[in-house]
Structure formats: structure tokens, C-alpha cells
Amino acid sequence: MTQIAHSPHAHVPLTINKVMRLVMIALTPATLFGFWLYGWPSINLWAVSLLAALLGEAMVVRWQQRAVRPVLMDGSGLLTAWLLAVSLPPWAPWWIAVLGSLFAVIISKQLFGGLGQNVFNPAMAARVMLLISFPVEMTTWIAPAPFGSVHAPSWLESLAVTFSGVHVDGMASASLLGHVKTEFTRGIGLDQALSGYYAPLDALWGNRAGSLGETAALFLLAGGLFLIYKRIITWHAPVAMLLGVTIPALIFSAVNPGHYAGPVYHLLSGGLMLGAFFIVTDPVTSPNTVTGQFIFGLGCGLLTWIIRTWGGYPEGVAFAVMLMNAATPIIDHYVKPRIYGRDRKGVALPIAAPISPIAPIGKES
């Protein structure tokens, strides 16, 4: 007998692969902008990341004697590598990308049981691993050198940058967050540290030193709105994360503007926009309910602000996300939807009239 299909006999035209593709499409503008801004080396880095993730994942899956094709075809490994690549310094050496990608797909994803089973966001886990292990490579930023500008390296030069670690003189720069942190340690106040270094309009476009695809706040925002419009993500986690940074920044900068930066500075720097729209919306490692997702996002934002303001590292998005990933099961345990006909605790609503012996009547009448 042929297999009888259970209802429903209709389905929304969506697959995991399509979800991943849509996220990649949303990520494309910011990535292309990063390519333009930082030139050939950034393209190399991106390509190496994706390639390493594909090969690494294929290897482990084959080693586990599972079918390789469906795992690679779902596109989740590629997306992870892409997210990692856009959070790396654009002129980082090739082995940073390879190590990070392999760590992301093998250790933080497949070892946990594959797609859907990982506790921590693979891209962020890899980024944290790299930041702790290779602080120099991970904090060597370059000033923007768009295609056609004087400093833009040719393709051949770019190979030298990516694959043999050649440093280009005069290109090194500091990211805004790193610069401010350094200046603080030298006892220099915020207004002085920011002067000549911080232009909000440039930051909005992303025309500054920073990670490959994290700087273009507007493009990331557009990608996020596209995903919300396509109903791939909901607004809750992103908005909550932005709020989580904005609220303390507003309060503290109002109290002591000489020491605490304002919300615009925080919103437009580091990986916040990428984190808000592409990282905290990772379905696997965030809570199940929209309320839970709001709490999760808020926590990510708050922790990011705390780490940026008082922590040892200039940027805190990756750490904040990992900390909140660890809290996701707890959030899911406490934040559950109320079930129809029951109260919040799951106890059936009281019945006023006496119960008669007939069984409950069916659904449709």
C-alpha cells in the first residue's frame, strides 16, 4: 500500500534552503559595500571563508557517514561562513578565515548535532574564539580604500595581503570603538577622543574602519527590513537589541556626557546593526516565543553596551550574543504562550456550570 499522507494537504511555499537564501540576499548589499570599501583582500577573505565552511562541513558529515548533499544544500553552513566573514577585519590573513569557518561549522554546529541543535551562534562563537586566540590579527583594521582610490590594492597585491600576510604601510587604522577605548586608558575624555574621528554621517554609510560588512548601518537596516517584510524574522529581537543599547546609552550620556557616549555613537558602530538583524534573529539559538525573543534581544543589547562601556574589549556584540544564547533555554522554560482554555500556569479555566457526563464535543460543528 502506498504511504498515506497526513493532513494538511497544502503547504506554504518555503523550504529551509529558501530561508537561508533570503537571509543571504538580505546580507548582500552590506557585503558588496564592504567589498567596494576594502577592496580585493576582503573579497578573498569572504571567498576563503565560504569555501572552508563547505569543505569542512562536507568532511565531517561524510565522516559521520551521513548524506553530504542535503546538509550542504540547506545553505546553513554557507550562511554561517558569510556571517563570520563579514564580521572579520577585511584584510585579515586567510588562515583566520579558514580557522574561523572550520570552528563555526564543525565545532559549534556539527559537534552539537548539526543544524538546529547548536547552543551558540556558530559565527559568533567562531569570532569570539578568533578574538581571544589571535587578538592582533583580529584587531588590525584598515582605513577604507575603495576601488579606484589611491590606496586600493590591485588584485595581485590583494593576494599578498590575504595569503602571505604582507602589511601595507599607512593603511592601518583603528576602529572607532577600539580608538575610544585606547584613548580612555590614556585618560583622554570622550569629546576629545571623538573629535576628528567620528562622523555620524559617514558611520551611517559605513565609510569607516571596521569589519568587512558591519559598517554599513543603512544597508544592514535595509536587509533587516527586507527579512521582516518577507516574514523570515520578526521585529521583536532586533528592536529589543537596539533598545537595549539605546536606553542605557541615553541615560548615562545624559548624566555624564564627558565619559559616556550617546546612543547614535553606539548604534552606528561595531557590529550592532549586523548583530541586531542577522545574529540575534538566528532562529536556532534564540527563544521560541516573540516575548522570549524580545527579552533575548534586550539582554543582548544591554550586555553589548555594558561590555563596550566597562569591559576589557572594545566591542561586545559577539560576547553578549553568546551569553544570551546560554540563557535561551531558561527563557524558553519560563516564557511560554498561554494555552487556549487554560491559565498561565496551565490549569484549566474554571467551569461555571456542572459538568455533564457526555464527552467534549468535536472541533467543527
Binding site: 546553513s76 532562529p283 536556532v284 521560541n288 487556549y340 461555571a352 459538568i355 467543527e364 460543528s365
Partner: protein, 502 residues
């Protein structure tokens, strides 16, 4: 009227345009009808006819049995040719006790009495007649209508809600009946309200049926019956959701609508009630939507109960292309059938021949915990978590998460981008739990039997020993007379405690 907010829900492609503008047509009289004895929730009916009997249309052929049951009537005049098994309109493909009737072509009714004023009857009499007419919930639940009526009268119902939602995609038969037979539906509604003593009557109709709303408003003007336009959403036509959107109340998890003073009936049921009470005609036909991408000319048909599904498809022009799946009911909760010869029964609202594109099924992939299912669930469950528990055979874990509150509407499966058969998991688990419950009862019974047997064996052994002792004593007393008749008679065995239930 103020409407209340619902949780979750989905907006599947309606596909109602395929058949919505097709007026109801009457399917030509089929040669042979297969009328199952159980077309309702409860005990099956018992046949009251013999093979070879000639019956008239509307004549009782199987009587209701027990409190929750419904009688079955001859759908046309003709000769009973078999009382036996026939494939059931059910995904299992199993057979079901069925009366087979060969039409004589005359379609002659039994004598029916037309009432000029049905409201002269007492309210008890109305529900008795509804029961005698074999009317069940025609929305698909097939719960005997009279049982609901008398129960609601006893518990006291203030609000009667009529379900004109028809939220399942493709189906348009409620839409058509409301457009074409609104007057009679309103009369049926008034009869139901009269039978249960309801003070308020609301008809909920989804806003994707403006013509039906207009027709029903026109028919209901001047009466206490109030037509309410409700937003189109699946599963709006589910009893629980309809009550919630109209009244803001929820049925307690352990209760029934009557517990909050509400009774819900389908508009098609109201039409059948009017037919039964005013015209004295029992339920022998119903409206069925024949649709789907593989059907040449989708349509709405009035069909005699017991007509094989394939005759409906044939009347609709046959297949435009080979269907990937045949479904009875709507695509969201309807059931696949493999045999197109199964009969239309009282609960059949649609016969759908769907193409692979319409079904959109794909290989299941791992859950990415996107929680789209959580947002879609109208009940407030966590489908992804429940399925994960069931997958590793932790059914009690799933029950703790609310498995028993699941209404099997299929919204979660519909939206799942990983194509995980979530509602299949839930129905598997519900079936397994029910089977376990049955197994536990049986085990308790058999254990009792085993214990009884052991006790009996011990008693017999003891008696034998005592008898042997007595014999020995007797021999010693030099009595030579034979005493040997203490052997065990087989008919001493205890009869099983439980009778066989077929």
C-alpha cells in the same frame, strides 16, 4: 459588533475561486449507493432492513443505538442488495459495515408531513425529530445534533453561534448554501434556537464571502438572528476559535461550549434541521464541493449519502490531469483516500483532487527552531517542542506541553519551512496514548483473570489433597466402596470477565 482577537492562525491560499461562482447542481441519481452504518461520532446504527427489501427514499434503514448515535435513512428508493463490509471513507482503506442499495430510478419519497408552523412543536419534540432525522454536525465533526440540542437545553444555553466560517481552502458548499438557501437556513437556525432556548443568535461568516453575508443579512432581517462578518483566517471555523472571536470567551480546557452557555452549529446543519422539521425529510443528501487543480470543472453538488466519490469526480468533468492526491474534506484537516469508490457520507464536505504543486510537499529537513509554528498555533502550543519529545518516544513529555489541547488544525505543519509533519506526530501520539490506555484496561482485566485462575487452581489442588486424605482414611476404615468422582469438570471454568467487543 465588536470582535475579539485570536491567537495565531494562518492565511493559506483560499482557492475558493475555483468553485465559488458555481451554483449548486443536483448530482444525477447514482445506480448503486453504499450507506455506512457509522457516519457519526458514537455507536454505529443497527440495520432494520433485510437483503431484498424494497425501501422508499427517507425510510429508516438502520436505527440509532445508545445515547450518542444517529439513525441512517435510505437515500433513494430501491432494493437493499447487501448488508456487509465496504471500503470506508477513511485513510486506512479498511472496510466498514455498510448497507448497499440499488436505486429503482424513481427516487420516491416516503410520505412526509409538512408543518405549516413548526414552532407549534414543543422544544423537546424539535430535538427528538432532529435526532430521528439522523442529523449530525455537517461541518465535519459529525456529532449527533440532537444530543447537542438536548444537552444544551439541560445545561442552559444563552447564545447560539452559527458557523458560516468555512475557513478551509477550496470548500465553497457552505458559501453556496448561504447564498442560495438563506431563508431556509434562517428558519433552521430559529428552530435550533427555539429547541435550546437561546436568547442570542450570531452567525459568523468570513469576510471573503460578501454575497453569502448579504444573502443571510437579507434573510435574517427582522429577526433576532444577527449576521457578523468575521476576518478570513484559518482556523476561524473551528468551534473554539469562532466562539473566541465572537464573544471573547474561551471554552475551559476540560469543558464544552455549553459550560460557558454557548452552542455552536454549522449553517448546513441548520438547513437540514429545517428540512427535517418543516418538510419531514430526514438527512439523505448533503452539499459537497468537488474541486482541486486536477478537476476539470470544479463545482458544488447536492449529493445523496452513499454516492461513490468517483461519480462526483466524473460529473465534474473528470480529471484535467492525474491527481497527486485525493482528499475528502478540506486540504487542512481532510483525509487522503486511496480508493475513489468510497462513499460520500454525512460528514463529507469536499472531494478534492489535488496536484503535487498544490500540495507543495517536500522532504522534511531538520528543525531550525524558527518557531513559525509557535506563532501559527491558534491554541498557544509549542509544536516544535512537542514533536521533538514525540520523536524520541517521550509521549508524557509531549502531554505536559499540552498535546491533549491540540486541535489538529494543521496550521503548524502548513507553515513549517522544514516540512516537518508536526500534526502527524501529534495524531500519532494521541492514537498511541489511546491505545496505551486501552492496553492498560485490558491488562488490568487479564491480570484479574490470571489471579482468579491461580486462586482456583490452588483451591482445586487443596480439595484434591483433602479428598485424597479422606479416601485414605476411608480405606483405612476398610470401606471398599468406590468414591472416585471428584475429577474436575471442564465447565467449572469461569467465563471471561469481559465480553468480546467488536
Amino acid at each position: 459588533m465588536k470582535l475579539f482577537k485570536l491567537r495565531g492562525g494562518i492565511h493559506p491560499a483560499g482557492r475558493k475561486e475555483l468553485s465559488a461562482e458555481r451554483a449548486i447542481r443536483i448530482l444525477p441519481l447514482p445506480k448503486r449507493l453504499f450507506v455506512p452504518l457509522q457516519q457519526h461520532i458514537g455507536a454505529p446504527a443497527t440495520p432494520v432492513v433485510q437483503v431484498g427489501d424494497h425501501v422508499l427514499k427517507g425510510q429508516l434503514i438502520a436505527a440509532s443505538q445508545g445515547v450518542v448515535s444517529a439513525p441512517v435513512h435510505a437515500p433513494t428508493s430501491g432494493v437493499i442488495v447487501a448488508l456487509g463490509e465496504y471500503p470506508a471513507p477513511h485513510p486506512s482503506g479498511l472496510t466498514i459495515p455498510t448497507i448497499t442499495l440499488d436505486s429503482d430510478g424513481c427516487d420516491r419519497w416516503i410520505e412526509t408531513v409538512i408543518l405549516n408552523d413548526p414552532f407549534e412543536l414543543s422544544s423537546e419534540e424539535v430535538s427528538t425529530r432532529v435526532g430521528a432525522a439522523g442529523i449530525v454536525g455537517l461541518g465535519g465533526a459529525t456529532f449527533p445534533a440532537a444530543v447537542k440540542l438536548s444537552l444544551s437545553r439541560k445545561t442552559g444555553v444563552h447564545t447560539l453561534i452559527m458557523n458560516g466560517g468555512e475557513c478551509e481552502p477550496y470548500l465553497t458548499c457552505d458559501d453556496r448554501i448561504m447564498r442560495e438557501r438563506a431563508e431556509q437556513i434562517v428558519e433552521g437556525i430559529q428552530l435550533i434556537a427555539y429547541a435550546v432556548g437561546a436568547r442570542q443568535v450570531l452567525i459568523g461568516i468570513e469576510d471573503n464571502k460578501p454575497e453569502a453575508i448579504a444573502a443571510m443579512r437579507a434573510a435574517a432581517s427582522g429577526s433576532a438572528v444577527q449576521v457578523v462578518e468575521i476576518p478570513s483566517m484559518y482556523p476561524m471555523g473551528s468551534e473554539k476559535q469562532l466562539i473566541q472571536v465572537l464573544t471573547g470567551k474561551e471554552i475551559p480546557a476540560t469543558g464544552r461550549p455549553a459550560d460557558i452557555g454557548i452552542l455552536v452549529h454549522n449553517v448546513g446543519t441548520a438547513f437540514a434541521v429545517s428540512e427535517a422539521i418543516r418538510y419531514g425529510k430526514p438527512l439523505v443528501s448533503r452539499l459537497v464541493t468537488v474541486s482541486g487543480g486536477a478537476i476539470k470543472e470544479p463545482c458544488n453538488l447536492e449529493v445523496l449519502i452513499g454516492t461513490p466519490a468517483e461519480e462526483l469526480i466524473e460529473f465534474a468533468g473528470g480529471y484535467a490531469q492525474a491527481p497527486a492526491r485525493l482528499v475528502l474534506g478540506g486540504p487542512m484537516m481532510g483525509q487522503q483516500i486511496t480508493n475513489p469508490a468510497v462513499p460520500v457520507v454525512k460528514g463529507t464536505s469536499g472531494v478534492l483532487a489535488l496536484t503535487a504543486d498544490e500540495i507543495g510537499q517536500a522532504e522534511a529537513s531538520p528543525c531550525i527552531r524558527c518557531s513559525t509554528c509557535v506563532r501559527a498555533c491558534p491554541v498557544g502550543l509549542l509544536p516544535l517542542e512537542m514533536a521533538a519529545h514525540i520523536r524520541v518516544a517521550d509521549l508524557s513529555g509531549a502531554v505536559k506541553l499540552g498535546l491533549k489541547d491540540c486541535i489538529s488544525c494543521g496550521s503548524c505543519s502548513y507553515v513549517c519551512p522544514a516540512h516537518i509533519p508536526l500534526v502527524h506526530y501529534f495524531n500519532y501520539a494521541k492514537g498511541d496514548l489511546a491505545a496505551q490506555e486501552r492496553g492498560k484496561l485490558k491488562q488490568e482485566a487479564t491480570k484479574k483473570l490470571a489471579d482468579e485462575r491461580i486462586a482456583r487452581m490452588q483451591r482445586i489442588g487443596r480439595e484434591r489433597e483433602e479428598a485424597a486424605l479422606r479416601r485414605k482414611a476411608a480405606r483405612e476404615a476398610k470401606e471398599k466402596a468406590a468414591l472416585a468422582k471428584t475429577t474436575l469438570a471442564p465447565n467449572e471454568k469461569a467465563a471471561p470477565a469481559t465480553e468480546e467487543v467488536v
